[in-house]
């Protein structure tokens, strides 16, 4: 209960959003109680929640002004819809304890960037919540690793990406390609780092939450990428959109239609500007396997490039600009001046060295993370504390934060 109220207090700092959240929590709780008896309530709830989310997500297309989306709406709305659909399907019984339900919806650490937690998993996690020295140090280490990714890597890459994206007329061709590749890493470090902070803090509070990433840039196809990137959203889309539509059971045409609808929903979830991005991903998921070769490394490179190109929709807000910029990568040959141009964009030599070393460390960790985790479990307590201290010093010294930086803002908070 304390965690719930602390969460609300923090959330209250974001203005009237807290009222929307409280109202939604209460209504959803009551709706959940009656769905097993009055099934139509599920439809009312889903239509209402989806409409509100759609309205707020596509508000820039509306002919009239509408309020800004409450923080976390994309995450808690999907959780509530899943909960009500599962109750409709009789997958489990409704939660009677309003505080437990409220905690499921409003669990502070994940309000801003997820993960989108299924109710049974959250319920088990809350019931089994146990704070121990082991969970605390593991959580602390993971949170610090998240901060490292966010402040040491993502914040540095942001300098280049922001400079390039601010002037698409000047920075196209090689600059645009660099921005796309850098943004791919930036977004991963920012989002995966944020999720590490969320999971780490939750772990420190004794709660184990779902993983959201499984080294996505090691994927050999775009469909595999989507099984490894933002996994909780992918699972939600699969369970509540793709499979209810029929999945891949009714022939190739149906599968194509279902895939495109699923990725259209994914695009809408990210925001009205990302419809084309969602559809292109749908096409790559459906046809992408045709691009695969026997060379796994080549497959990974192609997948990374395809995904990076499509992140352009996130870098440049205007779709026409995005298409022009992507074309410029192949038509504007300013590659010889790239190094000189990028070196003057605000990162010092020291920044580049730190960035390079940090990216290598991230790559190594992702590549060997099971080994690293296994080793971390058997090292003596003093070494564990030493690890936390070392990571703290590294983040404090080499992180980019302070005046002029918004260290608490994550890219995925805006979705």
């Amino acid at each position: 209960m304390i965690i719930f109220f602390v969460g609300l207090a923090v959330y209250a700092g974001h203005g009237i959003s807290v009222l929307y959240l409280l109202a939604m929590t209460l209504l959803s709780y009551l709706a959940g109680l009656v769905i097993p008896k009055y099934r139509f309530v599920m439809w009312v709830s889903v239509i209402l929640q989806a409409s509100l989310l759609l309205l707020l997500r596509l508000r820039h297309l509306l002919p009239f002004p509408s309020p800004a989306a409450p923080i976390g709406i994309s995450y808690f709305t999907l959780q509530i819809i899943a909960y009500h659909v599962d109750l409709y399907r009789d997958n489990y019984a409704p939660e009677k304890n309003i505080f437990k339900f409220a905690l499921f919806v409003t669990w502070l650490p994940h309000m801003f960037i997820g993960p989108i937690e299924p109710y049974p998993k959250m319920k088990d996690a809350l019931n089994e919540r146990r704070i121990s020295v082991d969970s605390f140090w593991k959580g602390a280490l993971r949170s610090l690793w998240g901060l490292f990714q966010k402040l040491v890597i993502a914040a540095r890459l942001d300098v280049i990406v922001s400079a390039v994206s601010a002037d698409p007329e000047r920075y196209n061709g090689a600059y645009a390609l660099t921005a796309m590749l850098f943004y791919a890493v930036q977004l991963y470090a920012d989002f995966s780092g944020g999720i590490d902070i969320v999971l780490g803090v939750s772990r420190m509070l004794g709660l184990r939450m779902s993983e959201n990433f499984d080294i996505p840039y090691f994927s050999e196809s775009v469909s595999e990428f989507w099984r490894r990137w933002h996994m909780t959203l992918g699972n939600w889309l699969r369970d509540y959109i793709y499979i209810p539509l029929g999945g891949s059971r009714k022939g190739r045409l149906h599968k194509f239609f279902n895939t495109m609808v699923t990725f259209l929903v994914s695009g809408i979830w990210h925001g009205g500007r990302y419809l084309l991005w969602g559809l292109l991903h749908g096409l790559l998921v459906f046809y992408g396997d045709n691009l695969k070769t026997k060379n796994r490394a080549w497959n990974r490179v192609v997948t990374f490039l395809l995904v990076s190109f499509l992140w352009s929709f996130f870098i440049w807000p205007d779709t026409v600009v995005v298409l022009r910029i992507i074309a410029s990568v192949f038509t504007v040959f300013n590659y010889p001046v790239l190094l000189a141009g990028i070196s003057g964009m605000g990162l010092t030599a020291g920044d580049w060295i730190v960035l390079g070393a940090a990216c290598l460390l991230l790559l190594f960790y992702d590549w060997k993370r099971e080994d690293v985790k296994a080793r971390l479990c058997i090292i003596p307590p003093a070494a564990k504390v030493g690890g936390i201290c070392l990571l703290t010093l590294t983040v404090l010294t080499f992180g980019r934060y302070g005046i002029g930086f918004s260290a608490s803002e994550f890219i995925y908070s805006s979705f």
């Binding site: 030493g386 201290c389 404090l396 080499f398 005046i403 002029g404």
Partner: protein, 341 residues
């Protein structure tokens, strides 16, 4: 046994972490020894704190324009300038508060130029005044009163939060002065021997409002009361700089305040002829600040006022003081001779 060994090991790691943290923080913090040396002025006082007849408070108009060495040489007055760049009124108050915990001067001279600023000017200026202050209630007060919107109190407590980005800008200075310091002033006086005659000055703009801010008066009142409580005479001065303009409307407000509270106020900008200032030779930056020659003239002029109107006595007969100041004067003269060469 194993448990005890674990606790001991963790203790050693934590101590190592604290030492490393403090060391890195200190390394990354600007030293203000050879670059932006004005940032070191505030801390030099701690090595000199003692029995001063006069303490000066204010911005660059005090540390560039008055020479305590000349005040001692000519009148036997022991003085210290606790001036820092862009020192605002509330900063002067907290520095005075800190000073009174160290000593009780007979006279406190406050340069009123800061009255024109009723808001913090910039984080950079705040840092030059606050960074090297010793921790006390006064430092906490000065931080809270001076922080701009973007600043955070914690970054003053843990300087690494502010200066971590210097990791690739470290110079020889950062290592040389990691554990040692040097004086950049003579009793707070920043010595400039170079000459840049006054030339064209910026256009004198007409202001929409000449009134000093309430917060300035609030802290000036607090400073006055603090002096009264400590039996110290508060003197208000305005240094003879040509720019920024000290408007007549400003002057009138200070005169009125001084009259109301029975304080002495000297606007030296109106007495440049009596002082003998020649802005073709007595300034090092075109009339904004005085150079050594100008500071000597102003110090002699003000010294006479301090003796004749405020009864300060000659300390040169005190052997303890003479021993210290004779040594300082020797060094002062040596540096001047060196810089004149």
């Amino acid at each position: 046994m194993k448990k005890r060994r674990n606790i001991l090991s963790i203790g050693v790691v934590l101590i190592a972490f604290i030492v490393a943290f403090l060391l890195i923080s200190k390394l990354l913090q600007p030293k203000y020894m050879t670059e932006l040396e004005e940032g070191s002025f505030i801390s030099e006082y701690y090595r000199e704190a003692g029995n001063h007849d006069v303490i000066f408070l204010g911005d660059c108009e005090v540390y560039a324009n008055y020479s305590p060495m000349e005040l001692y040489r000519d009148y036997g007055i022991t003085a210290y300038i606790r001036g820092t760049p862009q020192q605002l009124v509330w900063m002067s108050y907290y520095i005075a508060e800190e000073t009174f915990r160290q000593e009780t001067p007979r006279v406190l001279v406050f340069n009123v130029n800061a009255m024109r600023y009723s808001e913090p000017v910039s984080e950079a200026y705040n840092r030059l005044t606050i960074d090297k202050m010793r921790w006390s209630a006064s430092k906490t007060g000065i931080i809270l009163a001076s922080m701009t919107e973007e600043e955070q109190f914690l970054s003053y407590v843990f300087p690494i939060l502010r200066y971590h980005s210097r990791f690739d800008q470290l110079t020889q200075e950062d290592f040389t002065y990691l554990f040692q310091v040097k004086n950049n002033t003579f009793n707070g006086f920043q010595l400039h021997t170079e000459v840049e005659p006054a030339g064209a000055l910026p256009v004198k703009r007409v202001l929409a409002d000449y009134r000093f801010g309430d917060i300035c008066y609030e802290y000036l009142d607090k400073l006055r009361v603090l002096c009264e409580e400590n039996g110290t005479k508060l003197i208000l001065v305005k240094a003879p700089s040509l720019y920024p303009y000290w408007y007549e409307e400003y002057d009138a407000q200070i005169r009125e305040y001084a009259k109301k509270h029975g304080l002495s106020y000297y606007n030296f900008a109106e007495q440049t002829d009596e002082i003998g200032l020649d802005f073709a030779a007595d300034t090092y930056d075109g009339g904004y600040h005085l150079n050594l020659s100008g500071a000597n003239k102003l110090s002699r002029y003000f010294g006479e006022i301090l003796v004749e109107e405020h009864g300060l006595s000659d300390q040169r007969q005190n052997p303890n003081i003479a021993a210290v100041y004779d040594k300082k004067l020797q060094e002062y003269d040596r540096i001047i001779a060196e810089s004149m060469r």
